[in-house]
Each structure stands twice: as structure tokens, then as C-alpha cells.
Amino acid sequence: MSGPQPGMPGGFPGAPGALAGPPQKKLDPDSIPSITQVIEDDKARLGGQVFSTNIRGQVPPLVTTDFTVHDQGNASPRFIRCTTYSLPCTAELAKQCQVPLASIIKPFAKLPNNETPLYVVNHGETGPIRCNRCKAYMCPYMQFIDGGRRYQCSFCNCINEVPVFYFQHLDHMGRRVDFYERPELSLGSYEFDATLDYCKNNKPPNPPAYIFMIDVSYSNIKSGLVKLICDELKTLLEKLPREDGAEASAIKVGFVTYNKVLHFYNVKSALAQPQMMVVSDTAEMFVPLLDGFLVNYQDSRAVIYNLLDQIPDMFADTSESETVFAPVIQAGVEAFKAAECSGKLFIFHSSMPTAEAPGKLKNRDDRKLVSTDKEKTLFQPQKGVYEQLSKDCVAQGCCVDLFLFPSQYLDLATMADVPSHTGGSIHKYNNFQVETDGEHFLRDLRKDLQKSLGFDAVMRVRTSTGFRATDFFGAVYMNNTTDVEMAAVDCDKAVTVEFKHDDTLSEETGALIQCALLYTTIGGQRRLRIHNISLNCTSQLSEMYKCCETDSLINFFAKSAYRAILNQPVKNVSDILVNQTAHMLACYRKNCASPSAASQLILPDSMKVFPVYMNSLMKTAPLVGSTELSTDDRAHQRLSVMGMGVEDTQLQLYPRLIPLHDVDVSGEAVPAPVRCSEERLTDSGLFLLENGQSIFLWLGQASPPDLIQSLFNAPSLAHLQQGHMFTLPELDNPLSKKVRSIIGELLEKRPYSMKLQIVRQRDKPEMLFRQFLVEDKGLHGGTSYMDFLCYVHREIRQLLT
């Protein structure tokens, strides 16, 4: 995050209603740029169409638009999106406009069924062909010369010999005649088979393993969670991800339960009964068994069933409430080390680890620090044990997925430190109850377990001369400035990469980015996944602004702001955000817009809804200083966003508000969302609100009884009981089916599960719902969209004078 520019006027006050200056004339809300409108327009223009990636610097459709990608030499926007597709040629220009130059790379993005999966290329025993100097991989941008005997690397301009086995003649255009037969010459994205040189200790990797580590302390037993997990695993383990075409999953599974000691289980198929091995030496964790701990589920199914049946009973009478945590992760790392494999830990944990062991934590939830210079400490993890643990995990390719079931503060900032550095996910279920949260949690678990992903990954982003990657944001670990290490990376994890100029870029040759990801497949194959993208370069700011993508910009801003609050007061970070917003827009106004009255707010077309997102970002829990917000929730949101792709941040910062009261129950379509503002609600309406994390069904106080009857089988709103507030009964009528199908589809589509909350207008829980109406004034602080826009406008005017 760059600091405020010299000479910039003072910060944004942040507090609601604190706008200086004379009261503005009341503006018509419909007259200010609307996200829903922008989304609908893009859908109308590009929805359902094919997007071919054959043109350099082409701006793709919005993330909210459905389209089909045809890879013709550049990576699909599903894999890489950029803040702008036309880079300013010089550093001065970039500095002048202050538009961040960044790519958001989601290397394992899910592809729809109608798009071709990546081809796998094998260059034989010597491994993939790479430039001798910069080590870039063979790609469509390499220039073959000298009759095809040599090629010039377009990243570093080095001239390389073409290996004999790879030689091919060139056609009249200077293109190799095998151009279309070789994915690495014609496509933006493809994979290489990696040779032993790319493997740890020059040995082919073993298939990865999943270890399920269940906290069996009192609260998890009492809530019924342990039984729920054990029952679910029995069916879920049948669905472990497998390599395309493989008969069964190669992933091995292992089981650990723990409270303040760890219990490992031997589930070797030859055993009549599982065996439990208790390790109490949490100070120096080790794995007590080798053979029989990580097993093939198919082989050991009977023993595992037996185990899963017994676990809830074995601890039924437990009174142990203390837990350890760091030793649990350590145990996983040690197990992978012993088995020489990578893998993932699924940890189901309930409370702050207070038992005497490494990584023991103390309550440091001091809300008095909110809005002070020390607020950052609330977000900072405790150093030491966990720092080293992240290092160990990444070195071993051990990803940690954390499922938390807290009833109070548990120092999430520290507990989630390892997951957030190992490509893991963090799920949190406050005051977990099986009846109301069970299904919600299980959906997450199912999604998480079945996700396709790569393990033990290292990502390297190479660029053509003149600029380079300088900063990386994501659930990653960086041991040096170039290698992005990820214990695992799944289809929802994205890394945001910031670029800076080294030199002047050429409009003619443009700018190239190659992202190479070395990883181990779920089947235990070592692969290289390559994504290439070519961008335009321009000396015209207007061209640059035209090619900006707001959704990507906000992803970058969210991540950089969320990282900045680790080191600076939240207030400073908000100031910087507002200043930069004003500056970007002022620069446009000054250099690109046609002359007009100073009082008129003129925004670049590509960024016209940028202020809505920015305002929403500043009202998110991590950035809004309120003592009413739980510290753990703020930390959770901060960490979740760090690994998100563009689609997820967009949704997070501008939820969908879907009116359901006049839905066409016979059609396929989902009603068009309306703007996230209270003004759009109607007392007689039913609305669904969803942002990828939460989902609400809002019932207006004058909801027609027939709608209530159809959805809840209750005569009126007043008859709805507390117990009704989490599920929609399965009723056999068109409305009920339609609404449930809309919700079902959303739950299916999103990377995380969401817990449906049904709120009645004016009921107390409606507050929870209202905080997502991001165009309105924030509940815990933060201005409305309208006020923010006015404020930014004033700032722009000041900048221009």
C-alpha cells in the first residue's frame, strides 16, 4: 500500500455524518452509478458469448457475467485477471495516475464443463524446454528464428538453441508448422509433466494424504459435533477427489483425536479393531506409528467405520476441557514427513489452546485497543511457535484447514496463522449447535474435502523486461522475494500480484506475464501449470483507464488494506484508501475527461462504480473501528479475504439483494438483484441477500400471508417461531420450490457454505442483515454511498485546483 502523496489534503473523517462543508442538495439515488446496473449491462452485452483470448490486452467480461472462454494464446480470465489490461508505459505515468498494476491469479480455477481442461505436455526426460537465461517456460510468445533452429525468449530476449528433438520448420509467417499441435505454442494455459529434477530429493512424490484431527474435548462432545463429524466422514470419504479417469482416489487418510493429549489411530486393513496410540508428550510432538496411520480408505474401510463408530462413545464421558493446538499441527507435519508425502490437515477445534504445551495461548482480546495505534496488535498473530510451524508446514507441503467451533474468543489471529500461510481455509461456527449449524458446517466440510487442488506448490511469476512482480498477497508463504510457496492451492485460492516498473515499456511489444506453478497432483504426479497473459502498454492515460477492471482493483485494494492494518493504525489505512481513490479519479478528470463544469463529477467508465466498492470495503469489519465487533470475527474476515479471487471479493463487497416476492415461479431465471440499500426494500416484500459468507431471507412486515404460507406452512409472520428461523421447510408448492432452488444453487456455486438466516423486518436480528446493505450508512460506522461519493467529489475538486 503506497502512502499518501505529498501535498495531499487531509484524511477522510470516516465517521458518519461528519462531512464538512455546506449540506449538499439532495441527489436522486438513481442518478448515481449503480453496480447492479453495470452488472446487468455487461450481462446483456457479453453474457453467454464466447470470449476468445487471441487479442493482446483485451478486457474480459465482468466476473458476474456468464461467458465461455476460448483459449487462443492467453490465459482465461478465470485464471488471471488484471487491474488494467493496458499498462502505462512509464513509471512516471503509473505514479501520476496511482492506479495499482496487479494481476489476480487463481491457478486452479474451476472451469465450466464446456471449456477444455488443460492439456498436459511432456517434453521427455530433459524436462520442459525453458529459456537458458530467465528460465521462462516454452510458450506462445517465444519467437522462433533461424529456420526454427533457435528461438528468442520474449521475456528476457535471450536467444536459445532449439533442442534437436523439438526442432520444427517454420511456415511463411515465421510460425512453427506444428503450432496448432502443441498446446505450449498455441494456448495461454497448459501443464508440463515435471521430471525428477522438480521433485523433492529427486524422488517422485507419494500421493498426498488427508488427516482428520478432531478435538474431543468436553464442548465438542457435548455439542454432538464429534458424532456429527464421524458419521459424515463415513460417507464423505467415499468422495475423496481423484485424478481424472482414476478408479479410486490415491489420497490416503489418517485419524487423530485430541484434547490436551493426542490420540493416533492405527487403521491398517489387516486389523480386526483399530488401535489407539496416545501421545502425551506435547512438548516434542512425534508420530508414534508409521504403518497403519495413513491408509487407503478403500482397503481399510471396515476398520475406519469401526473407528468412526467408536470415537464418540470413547469420549462420551470426558470432562477434559483443555486443548492443545500447535502440537496437533506439528503431529500432522511429522506424519507427512515420516510418510514422505504432502497433504492436508482437517482440524476441528473448539477452544483457545490453554493446556501446557507449545503454542499455548492467553486471552489478549482487549477491545480498548480499537481505534488506537495499537489496534494492529489485535490482528497480529503471536510469533514464535506458530511462525516456525508455518515454515515447517510449507516445507513439507502440509496444508491446514481449520474448522473452529468457539463459544468465546480464541485468538483466531494466531490460530489461523498457519492455515493462512499454507493455502488452507478457515471456517468458524460461533456457538455451534448441531440442529442449527450442523448442515451448514457439513456443507463446508463436503466442499472442502471434495475440492480439487494441488499440493506442495511453488509459484513463480515471470515478466517481460521493463516491469516485474514486487508484491504478493494470498494464503501463501514467501521465503524469498520471488518464490510463492503454497503447501496446497485449491480452486478458490487466488494470489494477487503487484507489479512495478523497472524501465519503459514498449507499446509495440506489450507486456508479458508467465505464471508457472510447480505442484503435486492429487494422484501424486509432479506437474508444472503454466498461465501466460499478454497485456498492452500505452502512453495514453485514457487508454489505461479504459482498460481498467474495477473488480480486480477492489480485490487488490482489499488485500493490500487488510495487510496494511497489521502494521499501521486502521485510521491511516482508511485515509490512504480515500486519498488514492480521489487521486485516481482526479487524474482521470484532469487528463482524460473532456472539459466540463468543476462541480460535475466525471468518472471513468471502467471505474464508475469503484467508489461504491471502496466505501463498502471501508465499512468491512476489519477496517471499521468498533468495539462491538468481535476481534476474532474481524481477524477471520481479514484472513479469509487474503486468499480470495476477484469473484469472491466482488460479492463480499457488494452482496446480491434478490427480490423474491414477485419471482416468476415457472421460469428458470433468478430475479435481477436490486441495489443494496434499505430504500429498495418494501414492507410487503421478500428479499434474499447473499455475499458468499452469509445468506439472509428478509421478510417484510407486511409480507402477504399467502407467500408466508407457501414458504413456511404458517398462516402469518407472527406464527414463525425462533426454530423456523434457520431452515425453509420442504413444501410442495411452486414458490417454495423456486426459492429453495435459488438458495440451493447459490450454496452450490459459492466456495463456502452459508447459514441461511431468516429475519423479519424490525426484529432484532434484522441488524445483522442491515449491515450488508452497503449503500447505506454503516451500522458500526462508515458513510452511505451517496455521502462517500460527495466526499470523494469534493476531494477531487480540491485536487484539481
Binding site: V261, F264, Y265, L271, Q273, P274, Q275, M276, M277, V278, V279, S280, D281, E284, F286, P288, L289, L290, D291, G292, N306, L307, Q310, M314
Partner: protein
């Protein structure tokens, strides 16, 4: 004759009291006593099997003097009228307790009758605790060995008393403590094999202690109710099915062992966990830790050798060159464990079966200090191990196990005598009474010793000092008395006290030296001196010990030999000392003092057994017994001499550790030719069978079972015989003998003849 009288006396005393004294008349002054060279000392078998001694079911009557507390015994003066008895140790006059109101000359309690100089009391002391057997099993074994061991262990469950508590610890790279109560899932606690843990940590990790309540940190943790600890130690009758299955499912240590490496064996931590578990759960209760190992400890505390196969385990050569890297550290570690175990009365057995050494040298203290057994074999799949192990659980004529626990032996002496120390499977209890001498011999400085485990043959050497001053008169008609009070837990869990009170007459060494000489028990003396020698050998260089023994022998010969100065040919020893030099000759050659040709483990093993066996067995160890079988007559004992090795004889040699059957050259040829199969040579068949039958008889009873060797003239195993016999004929003097009898031995060792010649020369020399 005097001799036969004394022999009867000695025999009687041994049968009745389990005592053999070096001197059966005691010199009346300190000075004279020291001039006798062999100290006043005895071999004492506290629990000598006495079928004719039914225990009495009441408490012993004690002398009321606080620092005496001697037990009423037949030597006490009793005033039946006044119902008062006088202590024969401190002369305190004690009233009889009320329950003795009815005594009179004709109605005396057993403990006053002379034939009950040894008497056993059954007493009520606290709740009776069941016996505890904790198996500690090495799983780094070859498959076949592990299988055999598992079967032996499963079998042993049927031999244990049903209410005994049993536990199982297995180890390889890790150490596993198995919980025995689980239904369904078999549960064990696992410890890293490389980390030394304190007893407190072990108990916490096993969940045997309740954590201190919050806010009470630093408060000592209270042991949880027995139920918790019982997860690991369960009554046999309740868990034998479970445990049988558990043992059946035991697998070899699964961690891979790469080429050129030894398996990682965490013996040290396994023992530490075993000791810690018992210490926390059952302090001061009879318990046996039974350790089964198939190789040396290779990691963690107590490691004896590294896992690199190219570095061999230490040899005597390495030790002498101070080149044994792990020796001191490992020994110290096991000594600390042994002492902790001894404090709680838990004994540790070691069953070591491997072709190479297993670290007994470093670990021997575990058994030596706690009264445990050491058994050494080549494999668990041998009858030597299997039968020896079964014999641990053998029963006596009452059907009780021949094992007792938690023994405490106390020695009380009359004023003229003090106790210097004891040598045997015991540790000092550091009880300094008035009867404790400043002069320590063996484990001294105390008059109480703990014997964590003992059986009917466990025998201690106890050494005394006469403290009467030279000019003080011999107590007129008085006798020196010694009382042994041994408290122990009987295998049927009863608490018992056995009291042995003995007395010997005083003699004035100046006027009655012949009497004293004829009271000499040369067998007992040889064993008692040998124990002193072996005890010294544990801390001193071999040659120094031999020199000390030689000097003692020469001094004894000078004191009692009849000779003219400087005339070796005139030297004579009386009957009561005549065999003594020969015992010393063989002792010098024995594996207890010679390490040549023995590994450090073997030396430790031999010494372990030597310092605990009774007199008969000890003598066999010093001077093996040789029987000869021939057509010339019935089997007969023959000299342990190369001249006894004849072509037409079969020899049976018993060294205690080995039984060697040696077929002379002719016999071997006949046997090879198969004459024994022919009906007309039935007598040859019988001749061959005779030593086998005799050997069988010894094999049946001995613990540990000896190694059985069947060899013949020219056979490679004949070396076992050849190394033991007196080399009267060697390659050096063969032709000088000019006779064809006997077998020459290829050795430069001196023969008994040469030894005796030299001894005489030195004894008669006025300069030595």
C-alpha cells in the same frame, strides 16, 4: 575325629538355619581375628526352604530397648516364674507380653525351643497387595524370535497367580504402554524413545496424576485412585483374554531399518517408563519388571551402542583402552533407575536373547541391585530360554511361587561382633546401628539391606568383625551371637518375618589355634573370599584382584601351614584347609575373575549368578564337577584334570552354566560306527545313555537352565571342557610325563602342580 564332628555340625547348621560360617569357633580378639586372614563371615540363605518349619501366626516378641529390638529366641535367659526374659544381645530384661502369661518350663512358645533357632512369623502389616508383573518387551526381534517370545509370554499368563496384576510395555523405536481394560479399540500410550523423562512427567503423561487445581500451581499432585493406574496393571484373571490377543497381535517394530544399521531400540526409556509407572502407582509393593531384549539399546538415554553396524559394541579391549564411548553414561543411567526401583521394592529381570552382546554390562545393576534375574541365551526360540522362563514361575511344596518380594534383612550382633557388610543381590538401607563396623566389606555401613526379590536359594555373604580388644577377657563360657531378621512379602502376599539366631563359641587364638583351625569351613571360606574377589573385580583391575587373592592365600598358608623355613618340600596343610588352595587355583582361572575369551556381557552374567547362589552351586561354579562313565565300573567323580580325559570314557562336566558331555576318542568312534544301534552292544547304548540321564536331572532343577553341550574328542565344543580342566599335561610337558594317559591341553596356563609348588615356595619363604 574333630573334622567329622565339625562337618556334621556345619551340615546341621546349614540345614536348620541356612548358615555357613567360615570359622565355627571365633577368635576372641580383634587382633587374632585379623591374623586369621579369612574374616569371620557367613553365607546366609534367608529363605532357605524348610518344609519342617511351619510358620507361626503371631507377632515376634521384641526386646524393649529402643536401639536393640532383638527378637526373643532360644538363646535368651528366661525367668518363667517372673515371666521375664533377658535379651542375649543387650542383656535388657523384658517382661513377656500378656498373651504369654501361661508360659512355663513345660509350656514354652516355639521361639524358645532350640530347634527353632530359625522361625517364621506371619504378621499383619497393612493391606496385602497383589503381586505385580510388568512385561517390558523388545519388538526389534527377528520374526521367529518374536513369535517364540509371544508364545512364552502368553503361556506365562496361565502360570501367574490369578489375582496378580499384569502390565505390558513394548518398545522399539518408540515405547508403548498398553492399556489393558479397553473394550473395542486397543489403546496404548506412546513415548519417544530418545527422551529422558522424569518420573513425574511419565506419570502425568500416563494420566496417573491429577493436574493441580487452578491457582494451586506448585502444589504436589496427589496420586489418583487405584482405578486410574489400573488401566495399565490389571488382575490376570480379568484381562488374560485381552492380553493374550494383544500379545498375539504384537508386530515387529514397523520402523524401517536401513542397510548397515541396527534397529533403534529404546530400552532405556522403556525401563524408565516401567520404573516410573510402578513408582507412581504401586510404591513399596512387590513387583517384577520383566525385560525381554533381543539386542543392545541403540538410542536415547541408556544407549549402549549406536545404530551404525560398522561400529561394534564395546569389548573388554575397548574398556581397558578407555574406548567405550557410552559405557559410563549408560551405566550411570541404569544405576539411577535401579536405585529408584530398589527404593520402591520393585525388582527387574533381564531376559537377553541374542547372538551378540545386549548391554548386560551396563544394565546388570538393574537386576543386581533389585534381586532380579538375568537370563542370557542365543534366541527366545530355544528351550534354554523357554524352560528357564517357565521356571521363574515354579512353585514350592506348598504350591506357592518360589519368589518373595520386598525383603529387608537386618543383622543384630552381640557386643563383641560388628557387621562389616554383605555381598549379594541387595542394596544398603543405610541403617547405622551400634552393630555396624567402620570397616566396610562388600555393601557396608549398615545393618539392614533390602532384597527387592528373593527366593529359596538367594544367598548373601555377610562379613563380620570381632571387636573385642586383645587384653579384654574372653567372655567366660559366653558365645557370640548373631540374629538375622528378614521381613518379606510372601508370594501368597502374606507379610512374614523369618528370624534366625545363631551362636558360636569364643576361642583364645593363642591357646586354641588348633581348635580354631579345625573349625574352618574351607568350602564356605572359599566362596566368601571369592565373593570378596568378585566384588573387588567390579571396581578394580583384574590383575590387582588376583594379586590380592594370592596374598590372602599365601598369608593363610603361612598362618596354618606346617613347614620348615625355606624348605618348600616340608610344607603341609591340615585336613580342614587342604582343599582351599585348589579352590583358589580354579577361582583364579574362572570367568568371574578372568575376562579373556569372555565378552563384558558374559562376565557380567557369570558374576551376577555367582554372588547370589548358595554354597553348593557356588562351589560348582568355582570348581566344576567332572563325572566319568566307563565300562570299568559305575560312574564316578574324577579330578578336574586333563589326566581324566581318556579315550574310553564319557565325561559329564557341570560348570553350573554349562553341562558338557564329552565322548572320549574311542567312544566317539564307536558311536559314529553306530554300535549303540546293534542289539549285541546294548551295554554301549546304556553307557551312552547314562550321562544323558544324569544331565537331564540337573537340567530339570537348575535356574537358569544351563547350556547343554554334547561333544567329543576333537569336537570344536570340546574347548568348554579343555578350558576348565587343570592343564596337568600340556604341549610343554607332555613328553616329560612319558605316559599316554590323559589329553594334553594346548595352553600356557600353569597347572595346579606348578601353582602349588609356587605357593609352597612363597609360604615358607621368610621374605614374603
Amino acid at each position: 575325629s574333630v573334622m567329622s564332628t565339625y562337618q556334621e555340625f556345619i551340615q546341621q547348621n546349614e540345614d536348620r538355619d541356612g548358615v555357613r560360617f567360615s570359622w565355627n569357633l571365633w577368635p576372641s580378639s580383634r587382633l587374632e581375628a585379623t591374623r586369621l586372614v579369612v574374616p569371620v563371615s557367613c553365607l546366609f540363605t534367608p529363605l532357605k526352604e524348610r518344609p519342617s518349619l511351619p510358620p507361626v501366626q503371631y507377632e515376634p516378641v521384641l526386646c524393649s530397648r529402643a536401639n536393640c529390638k532383638a527378637v526373643l529366641n532360644p538363646l535368651c535367659q528366661v525367668d518363667f516364674r517372673a515371666k521375664i526374659w533377658a535379651c542375649n544381645f543387650c542383656f535388657q530384661r523384658n517382661p513377656f507380653p500378656p498373651s504369654y502369661a501361661g508360659i512355663s518350663e513345660v509350656n514354652q512358645p516355639a521361639e524358645l525351643m532350640p530347634q527353632f533357632s530359625t522361625i517364621e512369623y506371619i504378621v499383619q502389616r497393612g493391606p496385602s497387595a497383589p503381586l505385580i508383573f510388568l512385561y517390558v518387551v523388545d519388538t526389534c526381534l527377528e520374526e521367529e524370535d518374536l513369535q517364540a517370545l509371544k508364545e512364552s509370554l502368553q503361556m506365562s499368563l496361565s502360570l501367574l497367580p490369578p489375582n496378580a496384576l499384569v502390565g505390558l510395555i513394548t518398545f522399539g523405536r518408540m515405547v508403548q504402554v498398553h492399556e489393558l481394560t479397553c473394550e473395542g479399540i486397543a489403546k496404548s500410550y506412546v513415548f519417544r524413545g530418545t527422551k529422558d523423562l522424569s518420573a513425574k512427567q511419565i506419570q502425568e503423561m500416563l494420566g496417573l496424576t491429577k493436574p493441580a487445581a487452578p491457582g494451586q500451581q506448585g502444589h504436589p499432585v496427589a496420586p489418583q485412585e487405584a482405578a486410574a493406574s489400573c488401566r495399565f496393571l490389571q488382575p490376570v484373571h480379568r484381562v488374560d483374554m485381552n492380553l493374550t490377543d494383544l500379545l498375539g497381535e504384537l508386530q515387529r517394530d514397523p520402523w524401517p531399518v536401513s542397510q548397515g544399521k541396527r534397529p533403534l531400540r529404546s530400552t532405556g526409556v522403556a525401563l524408565s517408563v516401567a520404573v516410573g509407572l510402578l513408582e507412581g502407582a504401586f510404591p513399596n509393593t512387590g513387583a517384577r519388571v520383566m525385560l525381554f531384549i533381543g539386542g543392545p539399546p541403540t538410542q536415547g538415554p541408556g544407549m549402549v551402542v549406536g545404530d551404525e553396524l560398522k561400529i561394534p559394541i564395546r569389548s573388554w579391549h575397548d574398556i581397558q583402552k578407555d574406548n567405550a564411548r557410552h559405557l559410563k553414561k549408560a551405566t550411570k543411567y541404569y544405576e539411577a533407575l535401579a536405585n529408584r526401583s530398589a527404593v520402591n521394592g520393585h525388582s527387574i529381570d533381564i531376559y537377553a536373547c541374542a547372538l551378540d552382546q545386549t548391554g548386560l554390562l551396563e544394565m546388570k545393576c538393574l537386576s543386581n541391585l533389585t534381586g532380579g534375574h538375568i537370563v542370557m541365551g542365543d534366541s527366545f526360540n530355544t528351550s534354554l530360554f523357554k524352560q528357564t522362563f517357565q521356571r521363574v514361575f515354579s512353585k514350592d511344596y506348598n504350591g506357592d511361587f518360589r519368589m518373595a518380594f520386598g525383603g529387608v534383612m537386618e543383622v543384630k550382633t552381640s557386643r563383641e561382633v560388628k557387621v562389616c557388610g554383605a555381598i549379594g543381590p541387595c542394596v544398603s538401607l543405610h541403617s547405622k546401628g551400634s552393630s555396624v563396623s567402620e570397616n566396610e566389606m562388600g555393601i557396608g555401613g549398615t545393618n539392614q539391606w533390602k532384597l527387592c526379590s528373593l527366593d529359596h536359594s538367594t544367598t548373601l555373604g555377610v562379613y563380620f568383625e570381632v571387636v573385642n580388644q586383645h587384653n579384654a577377657p574372653v567372655p567366660q563360657g559366653g558365645r557370640g551371637a548373631i540374629q538375622f531378621v528378614t521381613m518379606y512379602q510372601h508370594s501368597n502376599t502374606q507379610k512374614r518375618i523369618r528370624v534366625t539366631t545363631i551362636a558360636r563359641n569364643w576361642a583364645d587364638a593363642q591357646s586354641q589355634i588348633q581348635h580354631i583351625e579345625s573349625s574352618f569351613d574351607q568350602e564356605a571360606a572359599a566362596v566368601l573370599m571369592a565373593r570378596l574377589g568378585v566384588f573387588r573385580a567390579e571396581s578394580e583391575e583384574g590383575p590387582d584382584v588376583l594379586r590380592w587373592l594370592d596374598r590372602q592365600l599365601i598369608r593363610l598358608c603361612q598362618k596354618f601351614g606346617q613347614f620348615n623355613k625355606e624348605d618348600p618340600t616340608s610344607f603341609r596343610l591340615s585336613e580342614s584347609l587342604s582343599l582351599y588352595p585348589q579352590f583358589m587355583f580354579h577361582l583364579r582361572r574362572s570367568p568371574f575373575l578372568q575376562v579373556f575369551n569372555n565378552s563384558p556381557d558374559e562376565s557380567s552374567y557369570y558374576r551376577h549368578h555367582f554372588v547370589r547362589q548358595d554354597l553348593t552351586q557356588s562351589l560348582i561354579m568355582i570348581q566344576p564337577i567332572l563325572y566319568s562313565y566307563s565300562f570299568h565300573g559305575p560312574p564316578e567323580p574324577v579330578l578336574l584334570d586333563s589326566s581324566s580325559i581318556l579315550p574310553d570314557r564319557i565325561l559329564l562336566m557341570d560348570t553350573f552354566f554349562q553341562l558338557v558331555i564329552y565322548h572320549g576318542e574311542t567312544i566317539a568312534q564307536w558311536r559314529k560306527a553306530g554300535y549303540q544301534e546293534m542289539p549285541e552292544y546294548e551295554n554301549f547304548k546304556q553307557l551312552l545313555q547314562a550321562p544323558l540321564d544324569d544331565a537331564q536331572e540337573i537340567l530339570q532343577t537348575r535356574f537358569p537352565m544351563p547350556r547343554y553341550i554334547d561333544t567329543e574328542h576333537g569336537g570344536s565344543q570340546a574347548r568348554f571342557l579343555l578350558s576348565k580342566v587343570n592343564p596337568s599335561q600340556t604341549h610343554n610337558n607332555l613328553y616329560a610325563w612319558g605316559q599316554e594317559t590323559g589329553a594334553p591341553i594346548l595352553t600356557d596356563d600353569v597347572s595346579l602342580q606348578v601353582f602349588m609348588d609356587h605357593l609352597k615356595k612363597l609360604a615358607v619363604s621368610s621374605s614374603s
